[in-house]
Every structure is written in C-alpha cells, then in structure tokens.
C-alpha cells in the first residue's frame, strides 16, 4: 500500500490577540504536533471529542486553515513548496464533504449549478460532456438527472448530503475528507449515506478520511483509526485492534461511552471527571493526566512518547513505556 497523504509534525496554532495594537498574548494549540498518513484505498478515521483539533487537522490538510508548523505531503510532494497553479490542480484531487447539508449548498444555485461549479473552476467537462457528467454524478449518488434542475431547499437532509457528495466527486478526486459527514442526519439516513460512501470508495478507488465524534460511524467506515485529545494523537490502531484492545485510558473511556444496541448487556462505563483542558493552556506532561483514572507520578512531568504495541498500533501513554516495565 502506498502512502497518498502524509502529515508530519503538523501544527496549527491560532494566535490570541488583545488590545488596540493586536498584541499576541497567547496561542490556541488546536493541533499540536500530529503525525498521520493516509494510504491509497483505505479509510482513516479521526475521532475525539469536540475541540480536540480533529476538524482543524482536516482543514489544514485541505489548505483551508494555514498550518503553522510541520509538513503536509501529497504523493511525496510538500504542499508548502507547491506553486499556486499546482495547488489549484491538487484541489481537484482532494475534496471535502461537510457536516451541515443545509449550509454547505448555496441556496440560490440549482443542483446542476452547484455540481458544475467545480468543473467550471477547473475548466473540465466542458460543452456536451457536461450534461452527461452531471447526469452520471447524480445517478451515482442516487438522485435522478431531472432533480438537477431543482434548488437545494427542495431536498431532504439526506438528499442534500448526496448532492454535497456529488459535488465532491465532480473532479474525480483521489481523496475525500469527510468532516462529520453524517452527524447532522437522522440515524436511518446515516446508514444510507455510510453505505453510499463505502460503495463510492470501491467504485471510484477513493481514499477517505473521516472526521467524527461518533464511534459507531467510524466503526462502520474506517480501516484505521486515530484518537485525538487536546491537539495530540494519543492512540492509533487498525479498526479491529482499537475496538478489541483499546490501550490508552482515554480510548477505553471513550469506547465505554459509546451506546450499545443491547439494553440488557452490562456496561462497564468508565466515568471521567472534570472538563477537557483548554487548548490555550494545555496541561504539562501527558495532556490526559488531569482526568486519567490510571494516573502515575510521571504523567504530569514527562510527555509520553509513542510506544509500538503490535502492527500499526501505537499509543502515547506512560503505562506502556519501557521504563514502566510493560
């Protein structure tokens, strides 16, 4: 499997400005040194609670939020070193699906105009090809070509999300980044959209990156999962490994909080106390030490390094570092 997209030590820090002269008084460490990669044909999930930096990481990869540090490589080329026209070309191979199917479609454009917009921008599928392409895309996402003449407000949330997906597919991208692609939808519609994404991934040979707080969604979609907490990755594992043997105490707590469909099954809830620390002033050492049920003396002093725990499974926790003897 070849690596398509790689982020090395990615940092996004937002300056906090105060006063008349806009002095920078501090930073929001939204994404603070994150490494991950996306292989061709796989689905990578990024999970974490709100404010952990998962969306910012996705936006930085797309170039919509400038990264303040680190590198993003696309097909072994550094995005920062690319020229404008190269970046524009790159845009066509990376596309976004948005969370809110209501605000992500311009209410004044017809569906055809919305889907054709990317083709106009990049000057592809011109003339007679356009009509066929639009019909093909609409049919691919489960709409009819006739519906292309309508306006977004005439569609339900699920249909709108399909329109958003058709727009993302318009330029034959190789990567699609879904930022909470189904969280705004009804649970019954969520399943349809997830199945659609899985089918499109096969048909179009796509690599997906799914950002979500919903473990059930990630479970269905993803091959590999990254868990983020306050701007850092704390655990990364293949889907099966993570669900079977979560290592980091935070991941364990997160998984124990996911609803189970069987009401009679005994739940072993791990309750965390306190709030998520602010990314403006992240805790020293391990960022989770303020809430960790298995806290040790070392945790608030030394930041844990990643420990490899089996194939592709790494965790940043002192419970598993060499010194603690595991």
């Amino acid at each position: 499997m070849s690596t398509l997209l790689q982020a090395e030590n990615l940092e996004v820090h937002f300056p906090i400005k105060k006063g008349v002269f806009s002095r920078t008084v501090g930073y929001v460490y939204a994404v603070d040194g994150v490494d991950f990669h996306l292989n061709k044909g796989e689905t990578l999930g990024i999970v974490g609670e709100s404010g952990c930096g998962k969306t910012t990481a996705g936006m930085a990869v797309m170039g919509l939020t400038p990264a303040t540090g680190g590198r993003i490589m696309f097909a072994d080329r550094d995005l920062a070193a690319m020229r404008r026209y190269e970046l524009k070309k790159l845009r066509s191979s990376m596309q976004l699906i948005f969370q809110d199917p209501y605000s992500s479609l311009n209410p004044r454009m017809t569906v055809n105009q919305i889907i054709a917009d990317p083709m106009d921008v990049h000057g592809v599928y011109l003339g007679r090809e356009r009509k066929d392409r639009l019909a093909f895309l609409l049919e691919t996402v489960g709409l009819t070509p006739e519906q292309g003449r309508r306006y977004p407000h005439e569609f339900s949330g699920g249909q709108r999300q399909r329109i958003g997906i058709a727009r993302a597919l318009a330029l034959d991208p190789s990567i699609i980044i879904g930022d909470e692609p189904v969280s705004a939808l009804d649970v019954s519609i969520q399943a349809q959209i997830i199945n659609l994404l899985l089918r499109l991934k096969r048909e179009f040979d796509l690599s997906l990156m799914v950002i979500s707080h919903d473990l059930a969604v990630v479970e269905y979609l993803c091959d590999r999962i990254i868990v983020m907490y306050v701007g850092k990755i704390i655990e990364e594992a293949k889907y099966a490994d993570l669900y079977k043997t979560p290592l980091h105490p935070y991941t364990q707590a997160l998984l124990s909080a996911a609803p189970v469909s069987d009401p009679l099954r005994e739940k072993n809830r791990i309750l965390l106390h306190g709030d998520v620390p602010s990314p403006i002033n992240p805790p020293t050492g391990c960022r989770f030490h303020t809430r960790c049920p298995k806290r040790m003396d070392i945790c608030d002093k030394v930041e844990p390094e990643f420990t490899e725990m089996g194939e592709g499974h790494r965790v940043a926790c002192h419970l598993y570092t060499a010194e603690s003897g595991v």
Partner: protein, 348 residues
C-alpha cells in the same frame, strides 16, 4: 422521505416567486407601472414641451426644428441667429400658402420666456401657460416636466453610485475582515460624522455649482448607510460551509464574493433602492430650495418651491411643484414598501 417529490410552488425559482408576490402587492405594482410610465414620458420631454415645432413647412420645403437648428434667414428673416418660432414675426414670415408649424402640446421649453404675457410675472394659469409662469415668465408646466426628469435622473445616478460604492466597500470589509474592517469602520465613523450640509455650502461657494459637482459631493456621503448592511451580510456569509466548499474547490476570492456571497447579500440592497432614491431626490430638492443646488436656469423642483415661497400669493407655483414632488416621492415609497414586503423572510 428520500426521493419524495417536492411540491410545485417550491419548485418555482425564488426570483419568480418574489416577482409574483410583488405583483400581488397591487399598490406597489401600480406605483411601479405609473412611475416607469411617467419617467419614460419625461425622457421624451422635448417632444411634449418645446418651443421648437416638430415640423415646419416653408416654400414647399420641410424643416425639422426639433432636431436641427435653422437660422432665421432660412425663412426670409433678417438675422443669421436661430429662429424664434414663438415670435409673432415668424408667423409673418411663414405667409406663403401651405406653410405651417406643428408644435408639441406645450409650446414652451424649460427656459423659454413667454414674451407675450400681459401684466406682471409670475402670471397665473392661462390658455397659453396651463400652469402659469414663474417670476421670470417661464412656463411652469415645462419646468415641472423637465424638473421631474432631472430629479429622477439625478436620483437614479446618485443611488447607482452610492449603491455600487456601498456594496464594494461593505463586501471588502465583510470578506477580508480583521484589520481592514477595523480601519474602514473607524473611517466610516469619522466620515459619517462630518456635517454634510456645511461641506456642501462651503464647496458650492468655492466651486461654481453644477450637477456633476453635486453628484460627486453627495456620492461621497451616500454610500455609508448601505455598506454596513452589505458588510454584515458578507460577515455572515463568508463562514457558511458552501463558501468553504467553494474555497476548497480553489475558487478565487473575487468569484466567491460575486457568485456565492453577493446574491445572498442583495436583499438589503434592493429593499433600500426606492427609499434611497427618494432620499436622493429630496436631497437635491432641498439644496435647490436653499439655492445651493443646480446652477440658475436649470429646471428644478426645489427652485420652483423657493419661488413659491418668495411669491406666496402665486399659488400655482407652490401648489404644482408640491404636487409633483409629493406624488413622485409617494410612488417611490409605495414601490419601496412593496419590495420590503416581498423580501421580508417572515412573510411566506
């Protein structure tokens, strides 16, 4: 739910639904029709009220004085200056059989002085001057027609310039935001606190008054109210996901502003148009009334009102200009009301 057929009224594009709603607003609709009709009519003021005939026949030859200027000598007169077709002398010249002059309905232009008035000016309405004359013997009806046209044209251009500048300023402020917005907003605060009227008085005493100068001076101030609304709309719009989507596609900023943000920011712009226009007309009229407006002899409603005030017993001056001015403003306000209702999101 998925694939459900949308109902028909929702299938109609927004602008057509709005047009239908405007049409249903009878008062506004008829005001628009009447205003457009009057304005179009006034654009042909030269054919309605003019001291030159459409057609003139002399010695078997046809002349078109409304289009071309002919010297008096062409008709057998003494001087090489342009013929005065209202002069009784012309009637004496055109004495050969078959000679005639075909005049517009009102035989005076805005600056024609009726030399045939017996008695003092301003002269009351008569068969020759339907609405009387002003204090210089010029026909009031002619001055009203031309004054109406000038007011509307002035209002249109001032509204157009102010709206364009307001949209551009507001769009840049709202889209760029940050420091640009901060400084622009402070500039607007300072600029809007300048005493407009004093500035106009000062400028009109330095420069010789002209319509262009007035237009420029009033434009300097007329854009500010609107830019705030456009700025707010752009602020709201720039973080919407479809704008992020457009940016993710690599659409450049100008196109995003034009295609994705501006159409959604047009509601305050369009709603304010008629009100802005009536404000612009009123501004011109008040400046004319104060004698700070258009140069002398230009047909103007404000100047006519001032004459009415100076000659309070010449009721035809104040009454006729008052009726025209109020009528014009009422039509614009009715149109504006209808537009406001059409664009009101709470009225479905």
């Amino acid at each position: 739910m998925e694939g459900a057929e949308p109902t028909t009224p929702m299938g109609v594009p927004l602008y057509r639904r709005r047009w239908r709603r405007f049409y249903q607003h009878r008062r506004g609709y008829y005001s628009l029709i009447l205003f457009t009709f009057l304005f179009t009519l006034s654009l042909f003021a030269e054919c309605i009220s003019n001291d030159k005939p459409f057609l003139l026949r002399h010695d078997g030859k046809y002349y078109f004085p409304i289009l071309f200027s002919y010297p008096e000598t062409d008709f057998g007169g003494d001087f090489a200056t342009e013929a005065d077709y209202l002069d009784p002398y012309m009637h004496e010249l055109l004495d050969s059989p078959g000679d005639f002059m075909l005049f517009p309905p009102n035989r005076y232009s805005y600056d024609t002085i009726n030399m045939g008035i017996e008695g003092p000016v301003p002269a009351p309405p008569s068969g020759a001057n339907f609405l009387g004359t002003d204090d210089r013997g010029r026909d009031v009806l002619a001055r009203l027609i031309y004054g109406f046209r000038l007011s509307v044209l002035f209002g249109l251009s001032l509204t157009f310039i102010g709206t364009t500048v307001g949209i551009i300023a507001g769009a840049i402020q709202g889209y760029v935001g940050g420091r640009t917005d901060l400084f622009a907003q402070r500039f607007i605060e300072i600029w809007s606190s300048m005493p407009e009227l004093y500035l106009l008085i000062i400028f009109s005493s330095i420069f010789s008054p002209s319509l262009l100068l007035l237009l420029i001076l009033l434009s300097l101030f007329s854009w500010m109210g609107l830019s705030d609304y456009v700025r707010a709309e752009f602020f709201k719009g720039r973080n919407l996901e479809y704008v992020t989507a457009a940016r993710a596609l690599g659409v450049n900023n100008l196109t995003i502003m034009r295609r994705h943000l501006l159409p959604n920011a047009m509601t305050p712009v369009i709603t304010f148009l008629p009100f802005r226009m009536s404000a612009a007309i009123l501004a011109l009229t008040s400046l004319d009334f104060l004698g700070l407006g258009v140069p002398p002899s230009t047909p103007s409603l404000g100047e006519l009102l001032a004459q009415g005030k100076a000659n309070i017993d010449a009721w035809w001056l104040s009454l006729s200009s008052f009726v025209v001015l109020v009528g014009m403003l009422i039509l614009l306000i009715f149109i504006g009301e209808a537009l406001r209702d059409v664009f009101d999101p709470r009225r479905k």
